[in-house]
Symmetry: C2
Subunit: 596 residues, 2 copies
Amino acid sequence: MPIYKAPVDEALFLLEDVLNFQEYGQLPGFGDLTGETLAAILGEAAKIYEEVAQPLNQSGDREGCHRHDDASVTTPKGFKEAFRALAEGGWIGLSVPAEYGGQGLPYTLTVLGNEFASSANMSFAMYSGLTQGAMAALLRHGSEEQKQTYLPKMVTGEWTGTMNLTEPQCGTDLGLLTTRAKPLPDGAYAISGQKIFISSGEHDLAENIIHLVLARIEGAPAGVKGISLFIVPKFDLKPDGSLGARNGVSCGSIEHKMGIHANSTCVMNYEEARGYLVGESNRGLNAMFVMMNEARLGVAVQGIAISEAAYQNAAQYAKERLQGRSLSGPKNPGGPADPLLVHPDIRRMLMEIRGFNEAARGLALSAALDSDLAHRSHDPAVRQAAEDRLGLLTPVMKGVFTDVGFQNAVMAQQIYGGYGYIAEGGMEQFVRDARITMIYEGANGVQALDLVGRKLPRDGGRAIMAYYREVGGFISRTTDEELAPYVKPLKASLDDLQKATLWLMQNALTKPENAGAASYEYMHLFGAVAMGYVWAKIAQAALAKMKRDPDSVPAMQAKLVTAKFYMERMLPQTALRLARIETGADTLMALAPEQF
Amino acid sequence: MPIYKAPVDEALFLLEDVLNFQEYGQLPGFGDLTGETLAAILGEAAKIYEEVAQPLNQSGDREGCHRHDDASVTTPKGFKEAFRALAEGGWIGLSVPAEYGGQGLPYTLTVLGNEFASSANMSFAMYSGLTQGAMAALLRHGSEEQKQTYLPKMVTGEWTGTMNLTEPQCGTDLGLLTTRAKPLPDGAYAISGQKIFISSGEHDLAENIIHLVLARIEGAPAGVKGISLFIVPKFDLKPDGSLGARNGVSCGSIEHKMGIHANSTCVMNYEEARGYLVGESNRGLNAMFVMMNEARLGVAVQGIAISEAAYQNAAQYAKERLQGRSLSGPKNPGGPADPLLVHPDIRRMLMEIRGFNEAARGLALSAALDSDLAHRSHDPAVRQAAEDRLGLLTPVMKGVFTDVGFQNAVMAQQIYGGYGYIAEGGMEQFVRDARITMIYEGANGVQALDLVGRKLPRDGGRAIMAYYREVGGFISRTTDEELAPYVKPLKASLDDLQKATLWLMQNALTKPENAGAASYEYMHLFGAVAMGYVWAKIAQAALAKMKRDPDSVPAMQAKLVTAKFYMERMLPQTALRLARIETGADTLMALAPEQF
């Protein structure tokens, strides 16, 4: 049986020592979060995910979701009770404003809780995760009446939410969307069409499901400028807010997927379903983009989550499984063999996963804090800077964290040898579950294009310039000799990033394919630098902490070693990425279609 | 439904234009293989795998194998008939000497046929593949009587074979093996113990199964020097060779695995089963090593096979699926969107897969030819050189081809977007099936250690020195200006390989952990150089061919473009690998076990 222990101490170190969370007390919802309260909240979150969600992860995968002839869907055994416990603990609406029933706590804590949740049971976490995404869209774009109608019931988990974008002919290219919305005399719309790959689309965890659906109002312009966003409740509401008639939306089938079997991924059929416009007509994509950005950070965090869970199991296995002898003489001479951990190549895999996990978590929390600043700060300059940074880093995190998270699940599985391929050990489930994160919420190639084509040039490059100043400033300020092993490689990689950016500026305008050909490498180059920056800050904080707190020495020492490993073995990839970028698009585009 | 067309033309080009297959006519079995005969054989192989094996790939995965209460196992629908067709076509014993009923054709053709087989249906191909492995071990180490008794029935597929190494406590570390062999008065042995992860261990495709089993004779030395190899037939034979009593070996359960569902991976229980010693007692590991080397090449080829099948499907999807518009203006202005193939990042993925497939196939065929030379040449110097090269390259191919083959299956799946995650499209099966190739026949980390710890230093470095001379000689001979874009990068990467080897020589003796810490990177560095060398030879052959045969221009042009892509984007990884190697083991080994 796989194990999982939420990394509460790691998270507290990142929040308090690296991100200086305590300095944000003036932001709404942050005020009461002294060190002790923070630790208590994280401890409670750890408990519910470790004890309630995680034990259902393997059984949920095995059992899957089942659709019945009446189009209802049953989730795996235990999911209903677990979802109830989660909702009653207040975890779904943790960051929703108190006026809609939430706790108004920082979004940063929601992001961290979602990491724990996805480590414990990713399929389960997606029911509340999609609900949070739908709530975010309503909070930003819904009318006050819509917020009052739907949010309080979603906060309590009595109702859940979904996002309905994809159609059979239209994935990334939403301009091809054909679901129709016909205006009705009472101001509502009749929605008709088919949506596919709808996570948590139909299930038995809640009494109502609030679908957010993209559709085209009759007569609207073609392409993405004719798309509107609608609320389509599974059960329409009576004037008093109680459940009314069953709406014309139903689950046509459940997809047979590689993983996340315990989440019901549905084909949803809309047949003249009553829907309610959210925000302005034909502006649905804008509303959806807000939701997508938040959802993308959520998916990035799933990458970290699976990597963390896979690491914990692989590390334990490497300490317990006896196989072979150390190259430098037996380390367990009394036993039949040494533990796997004595083998350098086993350590290489574990260190690579550690080298990712802690820095990625630091970067995700820093992005979540940016989101809090963007929405809660009273200073427009702070809000703007935070929004710029978040916008720039979101595609980087989504693309890189999910690519690497998947690779890490594969590496952790590899440590198990043959047992890793067998279902019982749970490692192959991590791989199957992690695989979807590279695809949904915009495939990673699309993230790379978003970064290079939209986020970089936006506002005359304001965000990337500010990021250079931030990292460059840290490098030039940090002259302490002890930190040189971390700062010098960071400087070299930042140079590579700047060269790559310059190359794009000089070569992409005249030939856009050069941007497309560079985009994926650029995204990973950026991710490596961004995580290198986090590691340098972790090293700085660890050195400071071990000086003032002798008890922290072993833990801080481990962080310094991992930071050094990252600098030596992982960050040097930036030079290779730059070299690939500079080869341009010519060879890539040379073959005629029929030559493939 | 996934498609597959065996790459017959590609293979013929590699055999005839790159490897000069026609020059080996003096070797036994090679004589009659004129161009036409060769093409005819490959065409027939293509036909049976495309038409008989491939249509059962998805249905076999879905249905899986089933064990019944009497410990018998049923394979998926259609497998029995397909296996019969394969056997009757003579494909199982293609390279077995005629005196044992085989066709005596080059092993090179068996390897190529096995690529087609694994592309079409890897689970199915493993029933004949394990049989071939068992036959190879008997051919090399069995007595003449054993060969006459077992081989003719295995060639016809009436009987199949298995390899039984792994036990619950002993995977890589065979010294921990505990299966016992008790001598019986009649010269046979009574075998008792449990073996796990036994591919094709029990099934309904053949009337008898010949298990090759590693076990420890009572009183034998501990460790690997006390292991012997036994034949344990499922049905013991009567003196006339016909089937006798059911032996004491049975399938305890079928493993629940991530993939290769249609191959029965069994727990095999031996209870005083009658076994017959193969070769000398306590020398079983040596016999098994021969079989393992051949099996490792076989697994390396599975990596190519899945990569090829995944590529073909992804390329077709990229040409057909309409999504988005080209960055340089619509390419399909009459349609609702352009095909995926217009997007540079889609091409990047397809080109990376091509950049691997053709060179890896060339290298595998060259290794198979080495195996033929090692066994069939009359010149001891030729035999030795071929054996050296094969021994050196086998772990490289097993480790690199399966790592990259898996990554390529993942990339091909990525091109499908959301559809790639759904079972119906078949792409996720390629990923699940490919995953085992990195684990079985020695996990890839073990291959890396075999390379660095055994193959490099062996015979005073004779094999690696000869390889340097071969590649270095090609580089210095190949001064044609047209070939410079391929030869110059190859030279740079060969330099990296030589530096890495030198670093190992200087740093591994004093500190063996430096070898372990470098091994995995070294293996991939080596693989990149070896494939770069094949690409340079392909480019040379392609330039020559397009000059003498104008009809070949489009196909040869495609090879030159792919070779260039490999040189520009894939080969430069060698510098990064070298840099990682040179960081040594210190950081890797710094953490205490409890810090993981």
